[in-house]
Symmetry: D2
């Protein structure tokens, strides 16, 4: 896929061909998204932070598949709700920049970051 919008269209076509629109209500898609994120989380649950930074190739390939599943369902729910994901992210980053101004003294990094 060359960009996010091509991906959005490909996913919609994939679902349409399989008659899956009937299941893809925003409520169900939010649940499915949640399930996929947990499958990603599962790979990290018993690892130390250092181990999680050094995944072996096989685990990394599985993690990449889970990242893809999250992205696919996220685009799908956004599409069904008429939300443009890139626009929403631009808007949210602007809000975050106001909420968390850059602190010059780096040692004071907030403990609870909200990216």
């Amino acid at each position: 896929m060359k960009d996010l919008d091509s991906l959005r269209v490909a996913i919609a076509e994939f679902a349409r061909e399989r008659d899956w629109d009937q299941f893809h209500s925003p409520k169900n898609l939010a649940m499915a998204l949640s399930v996929e994120v947990a499958e990603l989380l599962e790979h990290f649950q018993w690892l130390t932070e250092d181990e999680a930074r050094e995944l072996d190739a096989e685990t990394l390939a599985r993690v990449a598949d889970e990242i893809a599943d999250v992205q696919i369902y996220l685009l799908r729910i956004a599409d069904k709700l008429g939300v443009d994901v890139l626009d929403a992210c631009t808007h949210k980053l602007e809000k975050n920049a106001e909420k968390y101004p850059v602190v010059k003294a780096k040692g004071t990094a907030r403990k609870y970051t909200d990216l």
Copy 2:
């Protein structure tokens, strides 16, 4: 943001300026992603499927913000793991197409879809 890669770079810069890289281990980011998805899910938990399709403007704006948060953390964890999200999605859609071939008889839509 004009595309996913510009967004990835903007997020990395945002975190760097705030000295947040120290918190952004893949393990922690997987947890943060999970928390953000739940904040999205929360908007739908008591709605009927029909209500969830007809969100009022205020709720939709909040939902768009949560979708953005999920996208931002997803790009962040992928970046930290060296995963290209669009490539991962292309690969995953190909696997899904093999796993779920288009069934000609549309009435036989699988109950449990794995998009």
Copy 3:
């Protein structure tokens, strides 16, 4: 198990015998709990609300297993943190009763319930 405390003790013994205490930090257990809840959620994601009320025997048995997994990890994290689950629930129900007084006119049930 005859009660929650016997269950707590059995789980601690189970983990101790297998040398699993090393993995059972509160942080990791919170992640594991999250993964188990998603496995429960997965059974409901494509069902209508009515279908979810009428699970067949096989699905219900699987759902019961997932409920058990959530209960087991919940007791485990509470134990590791020194939290008495029944006391915490009693306290929380009291707080909820103050936050959500019984409304005499039943038609005014709050849309967003926080049990």
Copy 4:
């Protein structure tokens, strides 16, 4: 509450008095459970494993409230599905004991524990 069954009854009464049964379908309760677990997870997302073992009193009190919320929704969904939580846990621990026999050589603790 003196035991899990008294708690189950108190929760059912609490919901009935507030006319909340209409929202408490198993599907919705599974979502609510997932949201509550994420609120628990949120407390741990940016902490190191060591920090998460040494919560200050205020954080611990909040974490105890979240543990209570998870317990309350778990009992609620089990009740709605006719699942006895203690029986389900007993059965699941027996299955786990078969799946993960005690290994005499403790050094061989499985990396990925399924409690």
